[in-house]
C-alpha cells in the first residue's frame, strides 16, 4: 500500500497504542520489544508484521488466529488465539497454518439423525483414547472430549449443545492422537439438531402461507407509496410497542 495522503492529517493509529512498559517476545526466533499490554496480534504488528493469513475477526469469533508459543526456560507448549491473548515476557511465538482437515460431504435434508450417523460419517471417532488433549487445548474452554464421547454414544443433541461455542480454530484437531476432526463432527451434529431434532416453528409456517397468499401486498403497496410526513405520523403517533 502506498503511504496514505489524507487531508485529515496524521492521526494516531487506533490499533497499536504505544505505552509505558515493554516486554521481550520472540517471533520466529527474532527478539522484539513490545508494549506489555498488547495482544499477540497487536504485538506482532507493532514488531512490523503485516498479517495476510492468521487474522480475521480480531475479536475471538473466527478461529483464524490460533497460535502456539512457549515461554523462556519452559518446555511446555501453550496455545491461544492471537487476537485475545496478551503477550508475556520471554514468549516464543509462531503462527501456525490452519490444519488441513477432512470434512464429509452430505445432503442434510436426506440425513436421518439416528445414533449411528456421526460415527458413520466420521468412523475415526471410535479411536478416541480419552487423553483429554483436545479439551486442554481449546481456547473456548469447551469440554471437547466430553462432546466427542457424546458423539460416540450418538447423542446428537448433547454434542450440539456442548459444542455450540466452537469457533472452528482447529487447535483440538492439531493435538488429537486419534486424528479426529472434532469441529467438523460437532458442526454435523449441530446441523442435524437444528434441521431434524429441534421442533419446527409453526408460526413461521403460517406466516409463509400468508405471505405467499399475498395477504400483506395491499398494505405494503400503501406504505411504499406514502410520503415522509404520513410515514412519520404513523411511526411517531400510531406505532404501539410490544411491552418488555
Amino acid at each position: 500500500m502506498a503511504k496514505r495522503t489524507s487531508r485529515t492529517g496524521k492521526k494516531k493509529p487506533v490499533e497499536a497504542q504505544p505505552a509505558g512498559e515493554f516486554v521481550t517476545i520472540y517471533v520466529m526466533g527474532e527478539a522484539y520489544q513490545v508494549p506489555k499490554e498488547l495482544t499477540i496480534m497487536k504485538a506482532m504488528e507493532y514488531a512490523g508484521y503485516r498479517f495476510i493469513r492468521g487474522c480475521g475477526c480480531r475479536g475471538g469469533f473466527c478461529g483464524a488466529c490460533g497460535t502456539v508459543y512457549r515461554t523462556r526456560d519452559s518446555y511446555k507448549l501453550k496455545v491461544g488465539l492471537a487476537c485475545q491473548t496478551v503477550v508475556e515476557d520471554g514468549m516464543y511465538l509462531t503462527q501456525i497454518p490452519f490444519y488441513p482437515a477432512n470434512k464429509k460431504e452430505y445432503d442434510i435434508s436426506q440425513l436421518q439423525p439416528d445414533t449411528q450417523v456421526l460415527v458413520r460419517h466420521y468412523p475415526e471417532l471410535m479411536r478416541c483414547i480419552a487423553c483429554n488433549s483436545c479439551t486442554k487445548i481449546c481456547p473456548q474452554d469447551i469440554d471437547v472430549m466430553g462432546y466427542i464421547q457424546a458423539a460416540i454414544r450418538g447423542d446428537i443433541a448433547r454434542v450440539a449443545d456442548m459444542s455450540f461455542d466452537c469457533i472452528m480454530c482447529g487447535l483440538c484437531a492439531s493435538r488429537c492422537p486419534a486424528e479426529i476432526v472434532h469441529y467438523n463432527v460437532a458442526l454435523l451434529a449441530r446441523r442435524l439438531y437444528g434441521a431434524k431434532i429441534a421442533p419446527r416453528a409453526s408460526h413461521l409456517v403460517r406466516r409463509l402461507e400468508e405471505i405467499n397468499s399475498g395477504k400483506f401486498e395491499p398494505g405494503l403497496d400503501r406504505l411504499t407509496r406514502m410520503s415522509e410526513a404520513e410515514l412519520s405520523r404513523l411511526y411517531y403517533q400510531e406505532r404501539d410497542i410490544e411491552p418488555e
Binding site: 475477526c57 406504505l223 410515514l231
Partner: protein, 543 residues
C-alpha cells in the same frame, strides 16, 4: 480488575440500582428532541469530517475524508500488467467476497444452474458475518407483520430508505428464517418450536431471532458447510483489485492478486456479484471499530471506478456500545442484546440518561453528549472515557445465571481480562460499526453497471440513513439470494465478449489527473496499516 478510580464509580452505580429498577422505562425522545441530539452530537454532523468528491458518479456528494481518500485514488496495480485475454478462470457467475452475502449468493446462483466461482480475500467466512452476535429480524410472530417491520425499518432509516428495497427485505424475511432452519441453523427456541425473540433498538415487536450470542457465527458456519457440501469452487487469500469491463461498459469479470504468491490473474464471468462487505477498518474520524480485518471498502472502490452510483455515503453507523475498557479489546462490540436483556446505561454518577433501546444513532449521540458536554464519563487509566452498562442488573431481572446463559461469548471475552460481567458492570463508548450506505441496487441486486450485482453491506439504500440491529444479517441473505438468482438467470443471456479489459479505467484515471489526485494515493487498500510508521512499506506485487 478495575482500578480504584473506576471502582469508586461502580459503588455509585450499585447505590442507584434499586431506584433505577423501580423507575422502569425512560420515555422515548420525540422527533424534535431526536433531531436536536443528532445535530449536536452525532459524528456524521461534524462539518469538517467530510468533503465533496471531485471525481466519479457521485462527484459533488459529501463523504468522510477517509472514504473519499479511497474513492479518489489510483489503481493499486498497473492494469497493463493483467492480460484479460488469458483469464485463469471462466465462469458464469463470479462472486467476490466470502461472507454471508457472498456465500448465500453463490449457493443460490448454483441452485439456479450457473457455474459459480467465489473468490475471497481472507479465508471463506472470515468476515463481519462471523462476528454478528445479536440476532436477525423477521416478522413471523402472530402479533407482527411485514408491514410493521417495514415501518420500523423506515423509522430507523429516517424515512430515507428506498421503498422497494425495504419492502423486499421485510417480505423475504420469514422465508430466509425458514431456509436457515432447514439448513440446520440452531435458533433459540422454546420446547414447542416457537422462536424465542426479543426486542432490538427501534423495533416495535419482539422479532429478533438469535442463536445464543453467536448468531452470525452460527449462520456463517452453516452456510459455509453447505457451500462445501455442494462443491462450489472457491479461491481464498485472493483479493479483487479491479473489475473488468467491455467496450460497452458492461462488467465481465475481475482482476485479482493471490496474496501468498503475488500472482496477478483475471477471471472472466458473464455476471459478477460484489459482496465485499463494509468500510469499518478505514477508522473514520479516528474511531475504533468492530469490524473484521478485511473491511476496507474495496468493493465500493471497484464499483465506483466502473461507474456505479453510491448512496448514503455521508452516513456511518457508530454502534453505541463498543468496549472502552480493557484497552486490549477497545472498539469491540457489546451487542445490543445486552440492553435488550435489560442492562441500563449509567454515567459516572450512577444515573441513567437515555432510554437504552432508542435507535443506534440516538443512543450513540446521547453517550457522546454524556461524556463530552456534560462531563459525566468514567475515565480509564489510558485516558479514554465511557459510560457503564449495568450488566449485573440482568441477573436480577432475568434470574441468576442469565448473563452466562444468554451472552456466553461476551462473558468469555471479558472474563479473559478478569472482568466478570454478571458481578461488575462493563464500560462502553461508541465504535464505528457499519456503513449505512453503499452501491445503489434495485430489488434484484442489480447495480447501475450492466451485469454487475451487489449484495450485503457493500450495497446501500435498504437501511436509509441508519440501520436497525438484526436487519443486516437479514439483508445479506435476502439480497444475497436475490442477486444470486438474478445473476444466474442473466448469465444465461450473456455471451463472452472479446473486448474485455479495463475500459472504465481510462475515463476514471483522466478524471483523477484533472482533479490533481496525488499519484501515491492508491486503492483498494486491502488491509489497514497497523505497523509503526517507520516500519510501513507499500504492497509490492512482483507478478
Amino acid at each position: 480488575m478495575y482500578p480504584p478510580s473506576m471502582q469508586e464509580s461502580i459503588r455509585k452505580l450499585e447505590a442507584t440500582r434499586q431506584e433505577r429498577i423501580r423507575q422502569g422505562k425512560i420515555p422515548l425522545l420525540d422527533a424534535e428532541a431526536k433531531k436536536a441530539l443528532l445535530k449536536s452530537f452525532h459524528p456524521d454532523y461534524i462539518e469538517t469530517s467530510m468533503r465533496q468528491l471531485q471525481v466519479g458518479p457521485n462527484k459533488g456528494d459529501r463523504t468522510p475524508h477517509e472514504l473519499a481518500d479511497v474513492l479518489e485514488a489510483w489503481p493499486l496495480v498497473d492494469p497493463k500488467r493483467f492480460d484479460p485475454a488469458r483469464p485463469k478462470f471462466t465462469v458464469d457467475v463470479l462472486v467476490i467476497g466470502g461472507g454471508g452475502a457472498g456465500v448465500a449468493a453463490a449457493l443460490t446462483a448454483q441452485e439456479n444452474g450457473a457455474r459459480v466461482l467465489l473468490v475471497t480475500k481472507l479465508r471463506l467466512g472470515d468476515a463481519n458475518t462471523m462476528m454478528a452476535q445479536g440476532g436477525i429480524q423477521a416478522a413471523d410472530k402472530e402479533n407482527d407483520s411485514p408491514e410493521r417491520h417495514y415501518l420500523d425499518v423506515l423509522g430507523g432509516g429516517h424515512f430515507k430508505n428506498i421503498p422497494e428495497l425495504a419492502r423486499a427485505l421485510v417480505t423475504d424475511a420469514p422465508g430466509i428464517i425458514a431456509w436457515l432452519e432447514e439448513l440446520g441453523v440452531m435458533f433459540d427456541k422454546k420446547p414447542d418450536g416457537t422462536m424465542i425473540t426479543i426486542h432490538g433498538g427501534g423495533t416495535s415487536r419482539k422479532r429478533m431471532h438469535a442463536c445464543r450470542d453467536y448468531t452470525g457465527a452460527e449462520i456463517m458456519r452453516t452456510l459455509r458447510d453447505e457451500f462445501r457440501n455442494r462443491r462450489i469452487e472457491a479461491l481464498e487469500f485472493c483479493a479483487a483489485l479491479e473489475l473488468l469491463t467491455d467496450d460497452q461498459g458492461a462488467c465481465c469479470g475481475a482482476a485479482f492478486v493471490n496474496l501468498d504468491t503475488n500472482e496477478l490473474f483475471t477471471v472472466r464471468a458473464k455476471t459478477v456479484i460484489l459482496a465485499t462487505g463494509g468500510c469499518g477498518r478505514l477508522h473514520i474520524q479516528g474511531f475504533p471499530c468492530t469490524n473484521h480485518y478485511g473491511a476496507t471498502a474495496d468493493g465500493l472502490v471497484l464499483a465506483y471506478r466502473a461507474g456505479a452510483r453510491l448512496v448514503f455515503i455521508d452516513t456511518i453507523q457508530y454502534h453505541p456500545t463498543g468496549v472502552a475498557y480493557p484497552e486490549q479489546i477497545v472498539g469491540q462490540l457489546i451487542t445490543e442484546k445486552v440492553r435488550g436483556l435489560g442492562a441500563h446505561l449509567v454515567n459516572v454518577q450512577g444515573n441513567r440518561f437515555i432510554y437504552e433501546l432508542e435507535s443506534r444513532d440516538i443512543t450513540a449521540s446521547a453517550i457522546i453528549r454524556e461524556c463530552t458536554e456534560r462531563g459525566n464519563g468514567v475515565v480509564t487509566p489510558t485516558g479514554r472515557v465511557g459510560v457503564w452498562l449495568d450488566t449485573p442488573l440482568i441477573e436480577i431481572l432475568k434470574g441468576e445465571g442469565a448473563v452466562k446463559k444468554n451472552l456466553p461469548a461476551m462473558y468469555h471475552q471479558f472474563a479473559r481480562f478478569g472482568i466478570y460481567m454478571d458481578k461488575e458492570p462493563i464500560l462502553t463508548y461508541p465504535t464505528q460499526h457499519y456503513q449505512n450506505g453503499g452501491i445503489l441496487i434495485n430489488d434484484q441486486g442489480e447495480t447501475g453497471v450492466k451485469n454487475l450485482y451487489a449484495a450485503g453491506e457493500v450495497a446501500g439504500g435498504i437501511h436509509g440513513r441508519n440501520r436497525l440491529m438484526g436487519n443486516s444479517l437479514l439483508d445479506i441473505l435476502v439480497f444475497g439470494r436475490r442477486a444470486g438468482r438474478s445473476a444466474a438467470e442473466k448469465s444465461k443471456t450473456v455471451s463472452f465478449d472479446q473486448t474485455a479489459g479495463f475500459h472504465h479505467l481510462q475515463k476514471f484515471q483522466a478524471e483523477l489527473k484533472t482533479a490533481g489526485i496525488p499519484r501515491d494515493r492508491c486503492a483498494p487498500i486491502l488491509f489497514p496499516e497497523y505497523r509503526r510508521p517507520e516500519l510501513q512499506t507499500p504492497f509490492v506485487f512482483a507478478g
